[in-house]
């Protein structure tokens, strides 16, 4: 096994040499992804930064010593900023959304992938509509309904709202996973004496775990980035990183230091999750997740 690992490495380094065209293309993509972040990062560590200077005239760490109140990151990590609360809210909501979304999507995907029924293509299309209809239309729609039901201003309402854009992704990912999974495994387990629930737990779940990971990562990332629905349904009662960021930038023409810092923090949950799941990504589980 040790040999194969080395061999694989060798093959990867020698076998996948890029053409110059491919290399330039990758560099271009890299620049396109990273460059927009640069001003945000600089902004997050600056105190004063004005047109037309390329770098800040005063950095945050130069200004903080003789400031009479917490500046920049010091403010972020101080109580009154509510950033800690926003992080906790964002992550908590995202975790619950991911779990509930998986629980809803699993049976749906299984049926769509394995069963033939009348109106199947209609159901599949219907599942995609949240991706087609504009956020704001959905948001206003739910707001009216949720106001009636008294679901505004609380976690339950926000979590329900977040399920709308996350579930279509999850169902799609899991459907293609189930399509690649033979029903024989479940049937064999049943014949060996397993109840449907035990079959789900001991056979189906472990076998589709890669798909659940991929779908879960999406659901989590989508949830942590939702502004509009959270803002509408939360009614300002519940502060998350996106609502906080939007509050910071909504009126102003430019990104201030605090806003830039919140933006950076907002990217953290995804980044951390990506690192955690990196092991799975390496094992081409992502590819499997989309294996359709």
């Amino acid at each position: 096994m040790t040999i194969t690992k080395n061999q694989r490495k060798k093959q990867a380094s020698s076998g996948n040499r890029l053409s110059p065209y491919q290399r330039y293309y990758l560099i271009f993509i890299g620049i396109a992804v990273v460059v927009p972040f640069v001003p945000v990062i600089i902004r997050a560590f600056s105190f004063s930064w004005f047109w037309p200077s390329i770098l800040p005239t005063k950095w945050w760490w130069e200004a903080r010593e003789n400031a009479w109140q917490p500046l920049g990151w010091d403010y972020i990590f101080s109580g009154p900023s509510h950033v800690g609360e926003a992080i906790i809210n964002t992550v908590f909501i995202a975790i619950v959304v991911t779990i509930v979304c998986t629980a809803i999507s699993l049976p749906a995907a299984r049926v769509i992938a394995w069963e033939k029924f009348r109106g199947k293509s209609a159901v599949e299309f219907f599942l995609l509509t949240p991706l087609i209809v504009a956020d704001i239309a959905i948001g206003l729609g739910i707001l009216i309904t949720f106001l009636q039901l008294g679901l505004t201003g609380g976690y339950v309402g926000i979590i329900l709202a977040h399920l709308i854009p996350t579930t279509p992704y999850m169902v799609r990912v899991l459907t293609s996973v189930f399509q690649g999974l033979s029903r024989d495994y479940e049937e064999q387990a049943r014949l060996l004496g397993a109840t449907p629930l035990k079959t789900l737990w001991f056979i189906t779940m472990p076998m589709i775990l890669p798909g659940i990971m991929a779908g879960g990562l999406f659901a989590f990332l989508i949830s942590t980035n939702i502004f509009l629905l959270t803002f509408f349904v939360g009614q300002g009662n519940i502060v998350t990183l996106p609502t906080m960021l939007f509050a910071k930038v909504i009126g102003g023409s430019s990104l201030d230091t605090i806003g830039a810092e919140v933006a950076l923090i907002l990217s953290l949950p995804g980044l951390i999750l990506l690192i955690i799941t990196e092991r799975f990504l390496k094992e081409e589980i992502f590819a499997k997740g989309f294996g359709g």
Partner: protein, 363 residues
């Protein structure tokens, strides 16, 4: 002790009738093979017995009790799938012990019985391997161990050997026969390979288009097929049409394309009946035209149209007037293409099909 009874089973998928009015009884310890073309409904029949498919109508009894209301996990029926279906995320030990874990057997007993089961299939020492690290034959044996460990009342096997190479298939055939006999477990085995069915089973059920067309011992089906289609499926492609011209209580003379062929008289034969008969390719005897030892009766003239050499045998395609015959002979005696020969059709190997205008008559 398990007797399986299928009673008028029907399964319809939308407008396709996969299984049609299918009845079968397997006594305790019996080994029956379901034999038929691809798509004739063999798998569907097994799946209904296992509880994976609900019959459109009909009944399934085990020891006199209907099992239709039972979920698959309560039927205690073992099924071996064509593609083994080992759980890829579990090693051999976990795979084999799965059924016992699901039914809450104590850990120590599971270990004990897993070891026993792996011994039975000659895979001791493979406990920690994963399915992907096993050969096809080994995977199949793990699948068998995994099913047998739960002590099923009934064993269903769906073409379990079709994914194995020829040599391994031979080995597994005798392995399965021995195992089945030693456990005395009632077994229904599905295959589309007639040799496999003949070698393994006590009885063969022949299934065409969802219906049971003949049921009997391998010998009956092989030598006495009910219809030309069955004969063809069993590899006897020779069809001869004729008319009964003379009858004595013992001998029945048939005119076949101008040749007078004798067979043993069947009870309700009458002169003038139109019949169809067959002979298996390996049962014809060839003589050269000038051979003095040629029998005097049941001999027809023929010309060899084509000869195909196999390993130890030669297939001859023969024309005799309007009759086309196919024969298999030991390759020591060889006849060239176009050569004229005399063909002896031994009366004991001629088989007259029973049927509406094919009068029952035999041997």
């Amino acid at each position: 002790m398990t007797e399986l009874v299928l009673q008028n089973l029907v399964k319809k998928f939308d407008d396709v009738t996969a299984v049609d009015n299918f009845s079968l009884t397997i006594p305790t310890g019996g080994f029956v093979a379901l034999l038929g073309y691809s798509g004739c409904g063999k798998t569907t029949t097994l799946r209904m017995i296992a509880g994976l498919e609900e019959p459109t109508s009909g009944e399934i009894f085990i020891d006199g009790q209907s099992i239709l209301h039972l979920a698959p996990n309560h039927r205690n029926i073992g099924m071996i799938f064509q593609r083994y279906v080992l759980f890829p995320h579990m090693n051999v030990e976990k795979n084999v012990g799965f059924g016992l874990r699901m039914t809450g057997v104590h850990k120590d007993e599971i270990r004990e019985r897993t070891k026993e089961a792996l011994d039975t299939v000659q895979l001791a020492g493979y406990e920690k391997r994963f399915p992907s690290q096993l050969s096809g034959g080994q995977q199949q044996r793990v699948a068998i161990a995994r099913t047998l460990i739960t002590k099923p009342k009934l064993l269903l096997m769906d073409e379990p050997l079709s994914n194995l190479d020829a040599k391994l298939r031979e080995e597994m055939r005798s392995f399965i026969t021995e195992l089945q006999k030693s456990l005395n477990i009632t077994t229904l085995f599905v295959t589309h390979d007639q040799i496999e069915a003949i070698e393994l089973a006590d009885n063969i059920g022949l299934m065409f288009a969802g219906e049971m067309v003949q049921y009997g011992t391998p010998e009956e089906i092989f030598n006495h097929p009910n219809t030309p289609e069955i004969a063809d499926f069993m590899g006897a492609t020779n069809l001869m049409h004729g008319e009964i011209v003379d009858l004595t209580p013992d001998i029945c003379k048939i005119n076949i394309d101008g040749n007078l062929i004798s067979v043993k008289t069947q009870p309700d034969a009458t002169v003038g009946d139109k019949i169809t008969m067959t002979i298996r390719p390996e049962h014809m005897e060839f003589f050269s035209v000038d051979d003095d030892g040629t029998p005097s009766a049941n001999v027809i003239d023929g010309t060899i149209a084509e000869a195909v050499y196999h390993g130890g045998t030669v297939s001859y395609y023969i024309k005799s007037g309007n009759i086309d015959l196919q024969s298999r002979q030991r390759s020591t005696v060889t006849f060239d293409t176009e050569s004229k020969i005399k063909i002896h059709l031994p009366p004991e190997h001629l088989w007259v099909f029973p049927g509406r205008d094919r009068q029952p008559a035999t041997i």
